[in-house]
Amino acid sequence: MSTTATDEITLTRKDFVSDQTVRWCPGCGDYSILAQMQRILPDTGVAKEKTVFISGIGCASRFPYYMNTYGIHSIHGRAPALATGLAIANPDLTIWVITGDGDGLSIGGNHLLHAIRRNVNLNIVLFNNRIYGLTKGQYSPTSRPGTVTKSSPMGSVEQPLNPIAVAMAAEATFVARSIDSHPQHLAATLKRAAEHRGASFLEIYQNCVIFNPNEWTDLSDRKNRDDSILYLEHGKHMIFGKNRDKGIRLNGFTPEVVALDEVDLDEILVHDATSKPLASILGSMEFPDYPAAMGVIRDVRKPDYAGELIGQVETAQAQRGAGDLNQLYLAADLWTVEEREITSVASDGDGMPITGLDEEYIDEMDKPEEVLSDFQDVLVTNTLAELRPKVPITVGKRSSLARTVRQMNQHNIGCMLVTDEENRLVGIFTEWDVLNRVAGLVDDLTQETITDYMTADPLTLKEDLPIAQALNLMSIHGFRHLPLVDDGGQPTGIISFRDVVGYLNEALEEK
């Protein structure tokens, strides 16, 4: 999609985070997608007032609440239709359509097809978890044959849709795939979708931790995923595998996996994102018969719908002048509808019976989670207090740069916490700030105040949170230090990359 650059304002991730409580199950893949979306949007240079998120119904469709942009949580399956209207009414907007395998391919399958076919300037993101999650676990249009669910107790007998093939059938100009568990790849692919003008279709393999938790295990498992995923790069050979020792070759019309040491490199397919037949082949490669193709499968430029349509309107207006809607109405046959007495329909006044479904769902949620390993247990149950966080070293917010730097060197620390008069944390100042904003750039360190150089209002954690919460912030944002604070906002400690890795490296060592 196009980007409307704002010259003056630089946005950060925080600008896109809303104040709403996120209502997804703990462990849901949607969290990862939301975090990456909020992370990449500042880079696209589009003002948040020009950004709209439109969704249908489903777990994924709660997305607009959590983005601090315009958004509509709309009608089941109808997000592409609504978004099409919006794209025509205001072509300056950057519009994201958030949908799922049920909402997008079953309830709204037709709308999705036609929004893609028309090449409306939308970024369509389809979260594919191969299950209906919000309605508690029925098979979806992408569930594999044989999938046992509440609505298919003997296994689904239906042939699933392949979302990439659906998009290709609708002549999509941009088709891509990524997975929630690979944040770097997901962020890069979201960015590519945002850059494309016209309809971008991005399928994200997303984990439903409650109703379909093992669907993507082979692709998300960090140890094996490189053997299961073919990362596509335009102009590069299709080589994959943990040791990059396998490739894709075409045997007639059929792709096949070959060992690289048994064939010439010339025989290995080279990815060409402009080739339609190649995109169809890549879309047809289903895991586990083939590695799952991830990345940008197709990217071509064609005129977008709103641009063409508005062009025709302008041409018509130039030839025949501006239209008059009133005149158009009055030109048709007219008649008057007369009011009649209304007889009201009798109602028994009974509400819906309580089905007990909520309890069933809560039981499902409350089931003791399968503990996969002691290590995972450590991540989610051991608290940050067990890392024995270092006592925080602080300076007052009126301190000079010179004093701050001296203190950091005296205590041999890479990160200083800045506090106000009541010892509440107001900022953080790190070695990177010294390198990035101070060294060689500030002449007299004694004349400058730390508040002008620190990062204000840093993200903080509390000591009773699990270690995984710190890992989450460190991996998503690359924070090397995280301040810990008490309920009053006063710093109680600081933890670093090194503390976390060191602790985890020694955890369970005796076993």
Binding site: G27, G29, L34, K136, Q376, Q469, R480, F497, L508
Partner: protein
């Protein structure tokens, strides 16, 4: 099973490691800082260049001929530059750590981590057999590895741990 067993079987070449800035020997500290800022890197590798950069041999050829002679990090900026007058115009050679310890791409992540703990390094240059500079091993790579390895536990967490629905949401 613990993290160590995991990291023993994981080669460094399978991790997403950090990038680095690069300057030739003799570059002034001021220019080195500018390069690090422009590349947004906390580590700068100082090299002795065999051939002039951009000689048309392709990037791979260039970095093969560039021999690693020193490492200069944000920690050095803190301790040796920011508060020391007259440092900016001096060559980076005077403040870098000479002949840094490196590790090969086939070493295990556990080995790299042990080497880092032993020497109190935060950054370990990765160099292959032909002397090519491949990246910087740091604790970040392990953090990212953990996030990828345990996405359900690590990535898929509420943004604000204080505000979490008491009741599961459902239709």
């Amino acid at each position: 099973m613990n993290l160590q067993t995991d990291l023993k079987s994981e080669h460094i070449s399978h991790l997403v490691v950090s990038g680095f800035a690069q300057v030739p020997l003799g570059t002034s500290v001021r220019d080195t800082l500018a390069r690090m800022r422009a590349d947004r890197r906390v580590v700068c590798l100082v090299v002795e260049e065999g051939a002039a950069a951009g000689a048309g041999d392709g990037q791979e050829e260039d970095s093969r001929q560039a021999r690693l002679v020193g490492i200069f990090t944000e920690r050095d900026v803190m301790r040796k530059v920011v508060d020391v007058p007259g440092m900016l115009e001096k060559p980076v050679d005077e403040v870098m750590t000479t002949d840094p310890i490196t590790i090969g791409p086939d070493a295990s992540a556990a080995d790299a981590l042990r080497l880092m703990e032993l020497n109190h390094f935060r950054n370990l240059p990765i160099v292959d057999g032909s002397g090519r500079l491949l990246g910087i091993m740091s604790h970040q790579a392990i953090i990212d590895y953990l996030a990828d390895r345990y996405p359900v536990e690590v990535l898929n967490r509420p943004i604000d741990p204080e505000r979490f629905p008491r009741k599961a949401e459902g239709g």
